[in-house]
């Protein structure tokens, strides 16, 4: 059976879910039904994606004579897209499990869930598009529905602002993508993706390069490549938890899909420079993303920046793969592509998980400010465990999935010397170094991101009053399981991904990658090897042994438990523990060239010299460099332009007739030439 057929089922179910949500969203059973359908669709999509990895690319089909904006609806499910489809399915199931407990049934919720399911449908459309028009329409639909998602609570100006950033940048990106497609289809006079791909070599290198760069930029807006990333930290905090989880877990990854699509199928460019550009952009994005994450105290903004970092890692891998492709190293190219896709899957899982848990925390405490939380591990134990798994994953610590994919990426980059060009080798190693820095900072950032909200003493009354009853658990739990599975089941995953990579690069890496059953070798036998499965098992055992010993052995001496040693202070107060911002102060000081913090101190001793002690307030505001120095000028320019052309709109009919006349005249003249 054709995976595309299963995808039809998923699409249908999502459409049905959207309808149900729209009609019965304000009614709890309706809400549940909507989510149930959505989950069903997710499961179907996951199956379709997984199946398509094994099945390979399907043929392009045009169901009936359905046309859309003048173009035929062309559908196709490729193995490359299959990875994303499977991820989409898993995320959809998690969101569906999460929503019923997170949302109160209401009209707004109904509309919101309808939009969410349509967005999922649109994403499936993007991934299953076999033709240019289908792709673009699905892509635009996705953007618009996501805009609705972000506008769930349109009352606050924050929300409007975040949603606007998202829409504006999406539209700019969309135009660029359209341009890229138009170039290709014009040069190959085809609209079917397969045909474009097959005729791509006929297009001159310059046009291909132009198309690729347009696509890179266009999709970069979605993926959040620096400096095109500004919408993420604005849109994520204002969207509902599952909405922002969807944005980070799926939408952003689709940007990566688009880049991969152009880089490896539609417009494979000769020469190594596009790869270098991509890789450079990726490495830069990763480093800057995590650095800004360290300066955030709002959990969701923090996670949004960490998304930027992860996309950076993925794009770096893709770029390196392109370079190796250009240097006739198909094995390594395929390997890095696989690693990149693996990271896509991982990021989709743990980032969705963390956003959902952020939602749980906000739900339970009413705040997203890390410095107003603390001690939640005692109040939300199950959520804390789930969040901890996600944190281990995203911090790329063994034995979890983040470690596997990042290890693969590093192993790929370290083999830069195989390109034979010293310059390229050095540049690739530099990128690896950037990722190294990123990885280190990421661990630092997520020690903070987990430790401050979950450990220690509650910093506010709300945090102390947090309870777990009524909090959604199943969705995040599912993703936690997925994270573990992606780590332990790495060989299976790699085998599947290598099939996907084959359809793109034409290299069968399976044997080379997995000589043994469970051991992974990075493309070249003489380089290195490691087995995520054994590692996971071993680490688990290593933790279990002392536990067993402890459980087995009787405690000999009677142990007394006394409070933490606090220097004999009369009362130890929450204000005396590390806060999120003080924890990351060392980086703020080290990188203040980037942050340009504006420090403001208010203390009792400032205004009277007598030495009266009193309240102290310290703020270090990080300058939003890109908004201020890149976007604001553009916005001003646009406004200026608008003012400049306003006189044309005089409202005088005769004047408008004159315009018409002039245009027709111009047309004639051009026709005559």
């Amino acid at each position: 059976m054709n995976p595309l057929d299963i995808a039809y089922g998923a699409a249908g179910a999502w459409f049905a879910a959207a309808v149900v949500g729209l009609l019965a969203g304000s009614w709890r059973p309706g809400l549940r039904a909507c989510c149930g359908l959505s989950a069903l669709a997710g499961a179907a999509a996951a199956t379709a994606g997984g199946w398509s990895l094994i099945y390979g690319n399907t043929h392009v089909v045009a169901p009936g004579t359905a046309t859309i904006v003048g173009g035929p609806v062309q559908l196709q499910l490729t193995s490359l897209a299959g990875v994303f489809v499977a991820l989409l399915g898993v995320v959809a199931v998690a969101l569906a499990c999460y929503a019923p407990r997170y949302h109160e049934p209401s009209r707004g919720t109904g509309i919101y869930l309808a939009a969410l399911n349509l967005a999922l449908l649109a994403c499936l459309g993007v991934l299953a598009a076999g033709g240019m028009v289908t792709f673009l329409v699905a892509w635009e639909t996705m953007s618009l529905t996501c805009y609705l998602l972000i506008l769930r609570h349109p009352r606050s100006g924050e929300t409007a602002r975040g949603a606007f950033w998202f829409l504006a940048l999406s539209e700019i990106g969309f135009l660029l993508v359209v341009a890229a497609f138009v170039i290709l289809s014009a040069k190959t006079n085809a609209t079917e993706l397969d045909v474009i791909a097959s005729r791509a070599h006929l297009v001159s290198g310059g046009w291909r390069a132009a198309a690729y760069l347009l696509a890179l930029t266009g999709f970069g807006f979605k993926a959040g490549l620096v400096p095109l990333h500004v919408w993420l930290p604005e849109a994520h905090p204002v969207a509902p938890a599952d909405g922002s989880a969807f944005l980070s877990g799926v939408i952003v990854n689709l940007g990566a899909y688009g880049i991969a699509l152009f880089a490896f199928r539609l417009a494979p460019v000769g020469g190594s420079w596009p790869g270098l550009v991509t890789m450079g952009a990726g490495a830069l994005t990763a480093a800057i993303g995590i650095l800004y994450a360290l300066a955030e105290r709002d959990i969701k903004r923090f996670l949004a920046y960490s998304t930027i970092e992860n996309i950076g890692i993925i794009v770096t891998a893709l770029g390196a793969a392109m370079i190796f492709h250009a240097y006739r190293q198909p094995a390594l190219a395929a390997f890095l592509l696989i690693a990149g896709l693996y990271h896509v899957a991982n990021h989709g899982c743990y980032k969705t998980l963390l956003f959902l848990e952020a939602g749980v925390v906000e739900h339970a405490t009413g705040t997203r400010d890390m410095d107003r939380l603390g001690g939640l591990v005692h109040r939300l134990p199950r959520s804390a465990v789930i969040a901890f798994i996600g944190t281990l994953g995203i911090a790329a610590l063994p034995p979890l999935n983040g470690f596997v994919s990042e290890w693969l990426i590093f192993q790929g980059l370290f083999q830069g010397f195989r390109t034979g060009s010293h310059l390229i080798a050095i540049l690739i190693v530099l990128a690896a170094a950037m990722l190294g820095l990123t990885g280190g900072l990421a661990i630092y950032a997520f020690v903070r991101g987990f430790g401050i909200p979950y450990l220690g003493m509650p910093r506010t009354r709300q945090a102390a009053a947090a309870r777990e009853t009524g909090q959604p658990i199943a969705g995040p739990a599912l993703l936690a399981v997925a994270c573990v599975a992606l780590a332990v089941g790495a060989p299976v995953m790699l085998a599947a991904l290598s099939r996907a990579a084959r359809t793109v690069t034409g290299v069968a890496l399976g044997r080379l990658l997995l000589p043994g059953k469970l051991t992974v070798i990075p493309a070249h036998t003489d380089f290195s090897a490691f087995s995520p499965t054994y590692l996971a098992v071993f680490l688990a055992a290593a933790c279990a042994v002392p536990l067993l010993i402890y459980l087995a052995g009787r405690p000999r001496a009677a142990s007394v438990s006394v409070p933490v040693w606090d220097g004999g202070i009369v009362s130890f107060r929450p204000r005396m523990q590390y806060s999120a911002m003080t924890f990351s102060a060392p980086t703020r000081v080290t990188f203040d060239a980037l942050y340009r913090p504006a420090v403001s101190i208010r203390r009792a001793s400032d205004d009277d010299p007598a030495g009266r002690s009193g309240p102290v307030h310290y703020e270090a505001q990080v300058t939003p460099v890109f908004e201020r120095y890149l976007y604001r000028p553009v916005i001003r320019a646009v406004e200026w332009l608008a003012d400049a052309i306003r006189p044309l709109q005089s409202g005088d009919v005769n004047l408008y007739l004159l315009y018409v006349f002039a245009v027709i005249l111009l047309a004639y003249l051009l026709g005559a030439v």
Binding site: D566, R588, V589, G611, G614, P615, H617, Y618, E619
Partner: protein
């Protein structure tokens, strides 16, 4: 070392003349404090008078305290001029007085203390700090005067830390062999934003205990107010008592006290040096300094029979004479150790780099906060009560040991830890020189007999006394009742003033690891602060 900046320019006569314009003043009447020019004024002129005095260039508020005569409390302000002390006193009706700390910030610490002890506070309802009374001190907790009207939470400003900073709690139980004290370092993770200093842990009610005691009993406690400057506090207290009784120690006994005082300064500076090495993690230097320290203490023991020179000073004279031979034999060797260690330290960059530009205080700050001792002198102010003419006179004729053998005051300009260190080293050398001259002039264990009851003289009197400890000026004010017992004794070690400068020094652009260094360079005691 810079040129000596006179701390106070004006003389008491000029000031008194200026004050006379303000109206009804009694200058130095019968009940006046001996040992200082006393100006008694009605409370309404207090504010104006304070404006005049504080406005005079370089006059420093040395101390402020209250005493209960009958029901009303009398407020006394001690002003340090370079020719001596000026004491302004005013009786306060009710429980409020003009806000003096707005005129001269140095008064703030005492305002807090007076509120805790007597329940009277400045009219401006500004919050006060908790200084001495522990939080558990109830309404019936023993005090010198009436208990405060308002409960503490209405008086003390809340300690809240907002924004991107947190309070790093430090103490009260701190490193090994360090006194109990709490400070909360408010930090952004790197630099120190603010410091909360709590000094009430060691409050032992010394001034409360002294009431009703005989002078010898009181002497025993006075030495234990701040054991590391037992001689200085003892001398100040004895001098105050002597002034109250109108007697003076014999010159030879005064020289004995001076020898002990300089020995005390020597070992304290050695100890401060050791502490600096410990704070900078230079263990070898610490050992070298501690060898010198131990040898100096042994010199004390052999010369005076006590490692910390307890029991040397007594009201009217000195109990023990220094063993001149021992001193001339052992002191140079012990000081040699100190000198060699110091030279080695001055050549150790890893050490000097930590000291430079760390914990900076400006001369302006020092003047404003009335800082004393090496801390003030390191900012360029020549604040030294040993300066000619301003040390307790021994006998109506004699000008006191420091008048006969003037001290060269050591100052430095930068006001950072290094400057303090250099001042200490200079003073150590100066102390050795002075000890030599005092011994040559002859030091003995003589004493002027205290007038016994019925002598007429024994009748109650007030006396002000002071001495220059290694931490700076120690002030004592004693009021005796008819039968020679203590009605009210005020003891103010140098630590009280300089702890006030400590948090300012910490705030001046420092990171975490500088704080121990700054504390070592101040070399203060919590015991002296809390009393």
């Amino acid at each position: 070392m810079t040129a000596v900046q006179p701390y106070a320019a004006a003389t008491s006569e000029q000031l008194v003349r200026q004050l006379a314009d303000l109206g009804s003043l009694e200058v130095g009447d019968g009940a006046a404090t001996r040992g200082a020019v006393t100006v008694r004024m009605p409370p309404e002129t207090l504010e104006a008078a304070t404006h005049v005095i504080a406005g005079t260039p370089g006059v420093r508020l040395a101390d402020m305290f209250a005493a209960n005569d009958g029901d009303a409390a009398t407020l006394r302000l001690v002003w340090a001029l370079d020719s001596g002390y000026l004491l302004t006193e005013a009786e306060i009706e009710g429980d409020q007085y003009p806000p003096l700390s707005d005129i001269t910030p140095a008064a703030f610490v005492e305002e807090c203390e007076i509120y805790e002890q007597f329940g009277i506070r400045p009219e401006t309802g500004k919050p006060l700090n908790r200084l001495m009374l522990p939080p558990h001190a109830g309404p019936d907790f023993p005090r010198l005067g009436h208990r405060p009207a308002q409960p503490p939470e209405e008086v003390h400003a809340p300690h809240t830390v907002g924004g991107q900073a947190f309070e790093f709690p430090f103490g009260p139980v701190r490193q090994v062999g360090v006194e109990s004290l709490y400070y909360g370092l408010v930090t952004s993770g790197e630099e120190i934003v603010d410091v909360y200093l709590f000094t009430w842990h060691k409050h032992r009610g010394m001034e409360w205990r002294l009431r009703g005691q005989t002078l010898p009993e009181a002497m025993f406690l006075a030495e234990r107010v701040e054991g590391l400057s037992a001689v200085a506090v003892g001398w100040a207290f004895a001098a105050a008592a002597e002034a109250a009784l109108g007697i003076a120690p014999p010159p030879a006994a005064a020289r004995t006290r001076a020898v002990a005082l300089e020995l005390e300064r020597l070992y304290n500076h050695a100890a401060a040096m050791a502490a600096l090495c410990q704070a900078t993690g230079l263990t070898v230097g610490q050992s070298a300094a501690e060898i010198a320290l131990e040898r100096l203490l042994r010199v004390n023991a052999t010369a005076f029979g006590h490692r910390y020179l307890f029991g040397v000073v007594e009201p009217g004279g000195a109990t023990r004479a220094p063993d001149a031979a021992v001193l001339q034999r052992d002191l140079p060797a012990a000081y040699g150790e100190l000198r060699r260690a110091a030279d080695a330290l001055l050549n150790t960059n890893s050490f000097m780099d930590r000291l430079e530009a760390c914990g900076i205080l400006t001369a302006e700050q020092a003047r404003r906060l009335g800082l004393v001792g090496p801390v003030a002198r390191a900012t360029g102010l020549a604040a030294d009560t040993r300066l000619n003419g301003s040390h307790p006179r021994s006998g109506p004729a004699g000008g006191g040991p420091y008048a006969e053998h003037p001290v060269t005051v050591i100052t430095a300009a930068d006001g950072d830890v290094l400057a303090r260190f250099q001042v200490m080293l200079g003073e150590a050398a100066e102390s050795v020189r002075l000890i030599g001259t005092f011994l040559d002039a002859g030091a003995a264990a003589e004493r002027t007999p205290l007038p016994v009851k019925g002598d007429g003289e024994a009748g109650g009197g007030h006396g002000l006394g002071w001495a220059e400890s290694s931490r700076g000026e120690v002030l004592a004010w004693v009021a005796l009742d008819e039968d020679g017992r203590i009605a009210r004794a005020r003891l103010r070690p140098g630590s009280v003033r300089n702890w006030r400068g400590f948090d300012d020094a910490c705030r001046s652009q420092n990171v975490f690891t500088d704080i121990p260094i700054i504390e070592a360079s101040f070399w203060l005691t919590a015991a002296g602060m809390a009393r």
